[in-house]
Subunit: 421 residues, 2 copies
């Protein structure tokens, strides 16, 4: 008997009808002889409606109360799915994050999972129940208050439960068929990726692919939880995230896909004195404003000038605050100027096969050049190449790379041996 | 410094605007130097909407899941009120029934309060917070599951907290100005009753007055919690429920009001053998069908026949089930026939002054007779007279009694001394 954890997002349970469809799938999985634990997000627009109500009564709601409010959404959807399952003749019981043993830090709105103690779930499963757990929430070990887990919270709940219960698989149900070699809305012949390693999925998620949250993938990788991403609207098996790039033979030239991101902005701090500690001051200033930085580029200083430029990317919505923070520290840090640009897009190629396969970088640059795209910044990891270009050229860049690495259709893309990297 | 418990019903918090008005009143009470604990029902139609969703996904939702679902409503409203209070500059913190120490029996949908351990509330109050508590819910001492308290649950929550915290008063806010000498929609000159004893209020509630739930009044009486019923739409002081009829001088001839009830039906079991145990069998049969009986009448058996008739009233919606249960037991119990009548209304006169004041019953019957109303059954207690009449005559009966006992206007009704009872 296997233990399966399933997670259903808000659109999968947006109304009574969808809830009944989800219940049918869950019962089917159970009838196949599996223990089933299900994590359900709040129905459709519920979270937004609650946020709207909160905004109507208060301009700055206390975080603790915001968590009390928002967690009602998951409570509702989980109870309804449990009811729908019961109506099909199976036994189901729903639990809050607290009841499920989801212990977290105290930071309301962005709590981190500290420990999962699923005794009550185990007992309910042993008694023959299908178990529902409200996602996105837990209880603070310090204050005993209810907390919400921030971005990717429901996916992470599912993975954390799968890890704690040593599940055979964690299935993330969504409204697309799985992970694609590129966004199917941009690339007509984007191919479903059946298998992808944890590291490649991390890079895809970090590079803009929205199907799985980075956080959930990292948790899965750390605890070796196999993750399956599939559609709640059909029976297709979707994509399986498991395994490490270490297990992929070095000779295999796998390129997995192209990710894109239009949510960033680029800031260049011009004329930074090329002395120790300057970069640190710049990044500390931005970090103190609670802004996360993505790519960083610092090139060698132009000889003789004793100055260098530092470029970094960050969420576009945070750019004004970052600029303000840096400007107020300009005299102290001593840089010359600040350039902020929101009209950028990031495109990334991800694949285990990049390691030890010369020529990928060249093919990458040639593909973009051939369609007239200028590379503004470039940044690489062992299995990823990312560049920043003009936002309006982003879709073209995705298509050009996808074609250049032959990611379309049914064939796995292979880098031609012999080309220098 | 006084401790005030306030309870606001669903219509008082039906939207963001009403929530803000309620928050203002709460903060005002707090600024007057009081500790304030507030119990809030779910917003307006929330409970009905959740029940509707439940019905859409399941014909017979498991009671445990129904409680998980419905309690989300109170969680939402309490968090929003806490947010609105914070926006006004005061500190507020909301608690679930479980967090507030509301320990109950395990019966989902109709749990009884076993114990209230408000340590967390006391601590929050001592730290200067206004405390919000979700009404209508608690946690089962046995199963550790969330429970809902059934009818009158939110009023009872408020009274139970007031008792446990030794509050100076428990204020029940509603959409009418207080308790009236009769339903103002039926009697044009119905008067607000400023003060009423626990026993009289119990009789009024049991006789159909809907402003306060019987259960909450009984809890208040047992723990001597002063109850104030007032409007959330104005500043009128409303009605204070406190004290016992024992404290009212026997000479005072107070008649408090007229209550009416159109939710009952009348069943007569005809030709019951007049031997020991027959009545018991009839009531056991009805009780086994989980039906509550209100008034019971058994008159002496007609001489020589060895038979008697037993009449009782019950909720109209339960009548078909009661008839079915009795018919299936007819051969065993051995009665002759069953008469069921749903077209009845119950009208009751309530007042401490009935004791030791002869003539009340006569005045009562004369008033009804004068407007052509036939009394079908009559039933009395120390401070109440109730009769069953045709439903279509009920409003006339209320008006006739209200006038006969001079309950209208500004004067307290006084029974004329010297009239025989």
């Amino acid at each position: 008997m296997a233990l399966v954890v399933q997670k259903y997002g808000g659109s999968s349970v947006q109304d009574a009808d969808r809830i009944k469809r989800v219940a049918e799938r869950i019962v089917r999985t159970h009838k196949e002889g599996n223990d089933v634990v299900v994590v359900v997000s709040a129905m459709g627009d519920t979270t937004d409606e609650l946020l709207d109500l909160a905004e109507q009564v208060s301009p700055a709601p206390p975080p603790r109360e915001m968590d009390m409010l928002l967690t009602a959404g998951e409570r509702i959807s989980n109870a309804l799915v449990a009811m729908a399952i019961s109506a099909l003749g199976a036994n189901a019981i729903s639990f809050t994050g607290s009841q499920a043993g989801m212990i977290t830090t105290a930071k309301h709105g962005d709590a981190r999972i500290v420990q999962v103690t699923p005794h009550r779930l185990r007992k309910a499963l042993d008694e023959g129940n299908i178990v529902l757990v409200a996602g996105f929430q837990g209880v603070s070990q310090d204050s005993k208050d209810i907390t919400t887990l921030g971005r990717g919270g429901s996916d992470t709940t599912a993975v954390a439960l799968a890890a704690a219960l040593e599940a055979d698989v964690c299935e993330i149900y969504t409204d697309v068929d799985g992970i694609f070699s590129a966004d199917p809305r941009i690339v007509a012949d984007a191919r479903l990726v059946s298998d992808i390693t944890y590291e490649e999925m991390l890079e895809m998620a970090a590079s803009g692919a929205k199907v799985l949250h980075l956080r959930a993938v990292e948790y899965a990788r750390r605890y070796q939880v196999p993750l399956r991403v599939r559609s709640s609207y059909n029976e297709k098996p979707g994509s399986l995230v498991t395994g490490s790039i270490e297990e992929i033979p070095v000779e295999d030239a796998i390129i997995t896909g192209v990710a894109h991101d239009r949510s960033e902005a680029k800031i260049t701090v011009v004329g930074v004195p090329d002395t120790p500690g300057m970069a640190a001051r710049i990044f500390r200033t931005v970090a103190d404003a609670e802004i996360n930085i993505d790519m960083v580029l610092q090139n060698v200083s132009r000889s003789g000038e004793g100055q260098t430029d530092i470029t970094f990317t960050l969420p576009r919505t945070d750019a004004p605050r970052a600029v303000a923070a840096l400007r107020s520290g300009q005299a102290e840090i001593g840089f010359g100027d600040l350039l902020a640009d929101g009209n950028v897009g990031k495109v990334s190629l991800v694949g285990a096969g990049m390691r030890n396969h010369p020529g990928v970088t060249a093919t990458f640059c040639e593909a973009l050049s051939a369609v007239g795209i200028n590379i503004e910044t470039m940044n690489t990891s062992e299995i990823r190449i990312s560049v920043i270009c003009r936002e309006e050229q982003l879709d073209d860049a995705v298509r050009a790379l996808h074609a250049a690495f032959e990611l379309g259709g049914d064939e796995l893309a292979v880098v031609h041996a012999g080309t220098g990297r």
